[in-house]
């Protein structure tokens, strides 16, 4: 039996980011004293403007950049040890993938099993079963023999989700999973993430899709060069906090009257906040009402 597939009870991996600062060699301080922690069984949205340090935070959690201060612990372990134990799975942004690379759908999903294989990376029966199961779970078994460039936007996303499933990590990082996908695919992804949460995993989603955040994230981390606020969605994902995180970068439309671009939330107005993607609609008291499915 593959030890990585069967988790001994009581080894659920929490994520803690403790006072992490990241400075790049050119002296740019991308992140200062960022702290938050997540318990197993959480879907957490990572929200902030471009250049706010979201991707730096992702890189620090994956061990791609070394924090100049602070530390990241996954299941109580250092990042490198957690990676060796296959605890961390990741789904890249669609723009970062070379879709003309000569690999098929099944090959990509099999890459999720590399950490479970020996040095030569020769798949065993357990690896093939995990790949088939993952492909079936995202509904891509029929397309397993396609070259990845022959897939639609939504199918492409599913392939990389299947890869993360096949790997079976405790912590799943998704970078902008909703960019360029239709509503059907988005709903399917959200459904899958909810299932994974119920299995006790931690899912950390970096997203611009503000309107969807309250519908599937239990927790939110607001980032702007540091962690501005972190905690349960109803407490953190509020109008004032969002304005603090986004400042003037957010498009804000108050109804019925159009508010001035940088005006603070005005009493008595329904507010629509939009950061590129599906806008968020808030009640006059800052409660989240829902989302618009069409951009303004």
């Amino acid at each position: 039996m593959d030890g990585a597939l069967v988790r001994p009870p009581g080894t659920r991996a929490g994520l803690s980011v403790e006072g992490v600062s990241v400075a790049y060699p050119n002296g740019h301080l991308a992140l200062r004293d960022a702290s938050f922690s997540l318990q197993p069984g959480t879907v957490c949205g990572l929200v902030g403007v471009n250049g706010s340090g979201k991707s730096t935070l992702f890189k620090a959690i994956m061990g791609l950049v070394r924090p100049s201060a602070g530390q990241v612990r996954i299941g109580g372990e250092k990042v490198q040890a957690a990676l060796k134990r296959n605890l961390v799975a990741y789904v890249p942004q669609a723009e970062e993938v070379d879709w003309s690379f000569p690999v098929g759908v099944r090959d990509v999903v099999m890459m999720g099993r590399y950490g479970h294989m020996n040095m030569l990376r020769i798949p065993r029966a357990a690896d093939r079963q995990a790949v088939d199961a993952a492909l079936a779970r995202v509904g891509m078994l029929d397309l397993a023999e396609r070259q990845i460039g022959e897939l639609s936007g939504g199918q492409r996303k599913r392939v990389f989700l299947a890869r993360a499933l096949a790997q079976g990590g405790e912590l799943l990082l998704l970078d902008e999973p909703f960019t360029g996908v239709d509503v059907t695919t988005e709903d399917a992804i959200v459904e899958l993430l909810t299932q994974l949460r119920d299995e006790g995993r931690i899912i950390l989603v970096s997203t611009h899709n503000l309107g969807s955040v309250p519908t599937f994230c239990d927790h939110v981390v607001l980032v702007n060069r540091t962690v501005l606020a972190a905690g349960p969605t109803p407490e953190v994902f509020t109008g004032p906090n969002l304005l603090r995180a986004f400042g003037g970068a957010l498009r804000q439309h108050s109804l019925p009257e159009q508010a001035k671009a940088h005006a603070p939330l005005e009493a008595g107005h329904v507010v629509v906040l939009s950061d590129d993607e599906r806008p968020l609609v808030m009640a006059p008291d800052g409660r989240v009402l829902g989302r618009l499915t069409q951009d303004l």
Binding site: G63, L64, L83, Y90, G104, D107, L120, Q167
Partner: protein, 285 residues
């Protein structure tokens, strides 16, 4: 007809065809990684940068492969060291370093103009190489093939999605160093087959050709290896009759195959893509 079999009657021809085929096969396999990494210029740089090492190794009386490999690694280090420490773009850094090394090599070479063996480093002379050199080339080729057998999948993953390699507990930085070392080693082996100037052809063309023919890495690698092996063998064979440069005939043959594939490849060839485009807009091709 029997005239065509004459090359097979000479030991030196058999050895030349054998070693050219072996080095061609390994260079062809490696060329897949080079093409997918986008390192054609880096390969060219390394193959030129090994020349001063060869000259110094000969002067010092040590095996040429050791000097060449050391020289190539030194150039790679110089390029890696300059990258990120200066505002100069990477292609300019590569250009400066490799021409610097190559120039130094040519200068050293000009100090000892009578040495034919050194001249063959630049242009290759697979028909006239010593047994000791053949053994060196064969060992290098086998080591490179073995390394790709062991780390090939990780290397491929580091090209496709380096972050996933990290997630699997691997290290893309190590893979980068591995590819550099394999490139330098293969360039050393290719030296005597086709010469320092043309070895980059063997390290790029088969992979580029196979890329047009295959949608899976395994097939691409098999096709590139086959092209490398067969052109090495045929090129060495042909040079017996043409009495010309073996390196030239091997690399020219590879280029000819590339052009044919570029036009006629069933899916990614120019004709096929044109037909597909015509079909998409609904006009007959």
């Amino acid at each position: 007809m029997s005239e065509l079999l004459i090359p097979f009657e000479y030991d030196y021809m058999l050895r030349a065809m054998g070693i050219a085929g072996l080095v061609g096969a390994v260079a062809g396999l490696l060329s897949c990684y080079v093409v997918l990494k986008g390192w054609s210029l880096m390969g060219d740089a390394l193959s030129h940068a090994i020349v001063p090492g060869v000259v110094l190794a000969w002067l010092g009386g040590i095996p040429f492969a050791i000097g060449a490999f050391a020289s190539g690694m030194l150039a790679a280090l110089a390029m890696a060291g300059l990258r990120g420490r200066t505002p100069i773009r990477e292609d300019a850094v590569i250009g400066v370093v490799f021409t610097g090394f190559f120039g130094l090599g040519l200068f050293l070479l000009s100090l000892f103009p009578s040495n034919v063996r050194l001249q063959t480093i630049i242009f290759g002379n697979v028909l006239g190489i010593a047994d000791a050199d053949i053994i060196q080339m064969a060992i290098i080729a086998c080591v490179v093939a073995l390394a790709l057998g062991i780390w090939g999948r990780d290397l491929m993953l580091s090209l496709f999605d380096p972050v996933q390699l990290v997630a699997a507990g691997g290290n893309p930085g190590h893979m980068r160093i591995l590819l550099l070392m394999l490139l330098a080693a293969t360039a050393v082996a290719g030296l005597q087959a086709v010469g320092a100037v043309l070895v980059i052809g063997m390290l790029v063309t088969p992979g580029a050709t196979a890329y047009l023919l295959a949608d899976r890495f395994g097939r691409m690698a098999a096709i590139a290896t086959f092209i490398g092996a067969s052109t090495g063998l045929v090129g060495a064979y042909a040079s017996y009759f043409l009495d010309g440069s073996t390196g030239g005939s091997i690399v020219a043959l590879q280029a000819a195959i590339f052009v044919a594939v570029l036009v006629f490849a069933p899916k990614h060839g120019i004709r096929a893509t044109r037909r597909a485009a015509a079909k998409a807009v609904g006009t007959p091709a």
